[in-house]
Symmetry: D3
Subunit: 123 residues, 6 copies
């Protein structure tokens, strides 16, 4: 079954990216909408993260940047953890936020840096 | 002079990133506002691109992503060229846009891919 | 008085859309700025919701979509309730959010679905 | 093959929504990135538009609203045509834009209305 | 008639802000949607610009800033002219754009400055 | 040292704008990233706020407007205080938010007005 393959690939990607705790939290969506959950796993992680050409750490550079730019600070939290899990260092994450400052302005960069500080403390 | 150093570092970064033609085009801003031009060179390129920790090609991954996310498609053109100049391949650029599709939606990803197609043709 | 008519039409629309509790909460704005309050009622609800051509439930499809797209999640809460009040089902609301996922990306869709889950619980 | 089914469903949905001319134009993306094209068809149209619960015309209300809100005016053109194709009237489309004015402000509403005027002329 | 008063106040404000040419161009909206036109005049200009507490030139500082921030560059053109008409100098307009650079990032500031340069040339 | 001058100018501007308490809060960023902190002070406040042509109160009109437009409501809090500190009245701040309503839509204007109400209470 093709769709089972996509779903399976998505679960594998999520295991690389997120801790068991984070994945449990994400499953709240499954209770509200099993269909959105299926799309997140199969498309968001199965079709996208499982592709070649870019590494997981390059993909997290993209993900952190787009979340900062659109002001999606809730999702930024889990992807800051994912970024660390796939091998980006704290210094590199801080550097991503600094680079963003010139492109999205200081308010979003400062907000993101504050959250990064919280995540770094927790680890 | 500290500020001359920052300006000089910015010009050096711009030389790595952009062709002479693109840099000539950018100088249009200098005629309208020499002060904004000075900030772009000294802060935007001198303070940001000249930093360590991330390579130029990693910085262009960030830049392309934020421009796609905020719908800044004019600036995307020159940074698609910059991305190629600092060593990202067409395949990697296409992959960045595909990854963005899941995070910013298809309309902006499709718009970006159309522009990438035009830039790739010109080269 | 034309303006009284517009204000009266706005109050009528708000009564269809929101519970007494929600309307009481909204009146906090009246204390800070009676003029903004008058505009919200007369223009936002009187001029817009009271028009023909689209039903209240079609208008709430528009409202939910724009709030999700702009990341206005506080206002999303009261309009999720309004959407239910004017006859959209939970299934339809979930479907609106799923459709948005392809257009605004997963982060905002997931955020919206989490809030929808909270509102559905409360009812 | 599950994925062929999704792709086939996507092509069917696109046939309902877009004229042959518009679909030919869209295929430009296929030449630049066959993979993004496959995702647009299978996920964007196959997984999303082919679902139940909301009609095509309700889905176009959502699509027009999100495109206006995010300022994606290029894509707005083809979806204004799609909206007419699936049965929304000019009056309803105008009404969607008017309703948006209160939620996204006049600049984007005016921009959208100008484009709607152009599309209505062409038909 | 209250509404006639609001409409009349709107036309008066528009006369202060825009040249006859610009106002003629704006009337294109009247042909597509007389109702949106009425709202723009009565609410956008009648209710908002005609208020006290802030001067026209202060209101144009706000308007230019929000248009730059949301990337509404078409509308920026007419409001750059309006800003000059109500007494802001070229230096002040350039300064507004420079201040914005730190808050919205360089891409939008550069785009805005390029348009300002074009408008300044035309005068 | 040029850079020390820029940093010093930034600290001076921040002293005009923010209370000691707010400045202490901002220094949290210094612990996470001394480099971002240096840029905020030297570029954000030193290069931008210390310029001539616009007064501090005009600069805060710009700042409040861009923060409302981009939905940066956390930063809005400190800049509402700054706006009061540099001489804008409550009436003028309320008027800025009302003017924004027509340009960014009611949801962000209402959100901003709610926060303004909280800040006005605290003083």
């Amino acid at each position: 079954m093709e769709n089972n393959k996509r779903y399976k690939a998505g679960l594998d990607a999520m295991e690389e990216l997120f801790s068991q705790d984070v994945r449990n939290g994400m499953e709240g969506i499954k209770n509200i909408s099993p269909d959105l959950w299926e799309m997140i796993v199969s498309f968001g992680f199965g079709d996208l993260y499982s592709r070649n050409t870019l590494s997981y750490s390059q993909r997290e550079i993209i993900t952190l940047t787009t979340l900062i730019t659109q002001g999606a600070f809730d999702q930024l939290r889990v992807h800051l953890q994912a970024a660390l899990n796939v091998g980006l260092s704290k210094e590199e994450i801080i550097e991503i936020i600094i680079h963003c400052a010139g492109y999205v302005g200081f308010p979003k960069a400062v907000h993101a840096m504050g959250i990064a500080g919280e995540i770094f403390e927790e680890i």
